[in-house]
């Protein structure tokens, strides 16, 4: 234990051991004596001999109110890293907002595995004055549309979509009328 204290005093102890050892110094009188003695020896070897003021200072400290400072601020390197991360996150957020808000960006429709984008069948042209209410993918073949219309009541999403199933039905019917 004292050998670790000796290394701690020299700044040669692993950081992980340091906190535990400083904690022991609070309660272990023998370790505390060694701390004082080792520093006295170092000072004596350097010719720095003088009165031991520790006792007097400790007595004065007992009369002092306990210091409770706010948590230490980050180091300069820590602050720099924090600012860099914040700036990068801000730039990424701005880029995402610009991309999603721009007219050229559109989320790709999601298809179930197996159907993919390679759905066979003719492409249905959509008129320019077509209402925006039609939210179904534009590349759906007539057969698929018919299938979806026929099975819509059994769809698990029907209860969640509210007016959408009805809107889709109307849109398809209008398209059918135009044909």
């Amino acid at each position: 234990m004292k050998e670790k204290l000796s290394a701690l005093i020299d700044g040669e102890l692993q950081s992980s051991d340091c906190q535990a050892h400083l904690g022991r110094l609070r309660t272990d009188t023998e370790l505390r004596r060694a701390w004082d003695a080792y520093h006295l020896i170092g000072d004596a070897l350097r010719g720095h001999i003088g009165a031991d003021l520790t006792g007097r200072v400790v007595a004065r400290l007992q009369e002092e109110p306990t210091v409770l400072a706010p948590q230490r601020k980050m180091t300069a390197a820590g602050r720099l890293a924090w600012y860099a991360t914040s700036a990068a996150a801000s730039v990424a957020a701005v880029i995402l907002v610009v991309l999603t808000a721009s007219s050229g960006w559109r989320a790709e429709p999601q298809f179930a595995a197996g159907t993919g984008t390679g759905v066979s069948g003719p492409v249905i042209p959509v008129a320019a004055d077509q209402p925006a209410i039609d939210a179904t993918p534009r590349l759906i073949g007539a057969e698929v549309e018919n299938y979806l219309l026929a099975h819509q009541p059994y769809s698990h999403t029907s209860a969640m979509q509210g007016i959408v199933p009805y809107a889709r039905t109307v849109a398809v019917e209008r398209r059918t009328v135009r044909k």
Partner: protein, 199 residues
């Protein structure tokens, strides 16, 4: 982790209300600070008073210590300011800014013989401690004496000492510890009789 990191950890503990941590810093730096103050305060008992006051001021000012400089550099400035205020209050000339500046703090080691900062009551004890340390050093095996000399007087790291002594770092650590323990064992009877001991 170097010595500065150790001081920083002790300061952080003291800032969280651990007075024992600050006592460890007092124990570590008291003689270095007293030696600095003795450069411009002649009376040894006054040096002790000013050093004590400087430590108390440092303790009170702990919340403002941000760790931008080393703890001793910060303590050094407080010590100099306390000494200046003391000398002004006593109607004596305070040291000018050019006589002492904080850049000296880290490497404060002057070759000249400084004034003895002991009070008359402790002169004998201080001489006895110095003699005991010196005698024990002479009696130490050469490898222990070299290891502690390279560390305490030359200020070398364990890695550098290992290179010089051509041995593993673990051996250096063990030799320095054994040297310290041997000297501490010889000092123990003296230290236990000191009036100003707190244990």
């Amino acid at each position: 982790m170097d010595e500065r990191d150790l001081d920083r950890q002790l300061v952080e503990r003291a800032q969280r209300g651990d007075k024992h941590a600050f006592e460890l810093l007092v124990s570590k730096y008291q003689r270095k600070l007293a030696r600095l103050l003795a450069r411009f305060i002649r009376d040894p008992s006054e040096v002790e008073d000013v050093a004590q006051e400087a430590f108390i001021k440092a303790y009170r000012a702990l919340p403002s210590f941000r760790g931008d400089s080393a703890f001793y550099t910060w303590l050094y400035r407080i010590g100099i300011n306390t000494a200046k205020n003391y000398l002004v209050a006593m109607g004596r000339r305070a040291p000018t800014a050019t006589e002492f500046n904080s850049e000296d703090a880290e490497g404060f080691e002057d070759g000249e013989r400084l004034r003895d900062v002991n009070t008359p009551e402790s002169v004998l004890m201080s001489k006895e401690i110095a003699r005991t340390v010196s005698d024990t050093m002479d009696q130490l095996p050469e490898e222990l004496r070299d290891a502690i000399t390279l560390r305490e007087i030359e200020g070398l790291s364990y890695e550098d000492i290992a290179t010089i002594m051509n041995c593993p770092i673990g051996t250096v650590r063990s030799r320095i510890f054994r040297a310290r323990e041997a000297i501490a064992e010889r000092l123990r009877p003296l230290l236990e009789t000191r009036k100003d001991r707190r244990w």
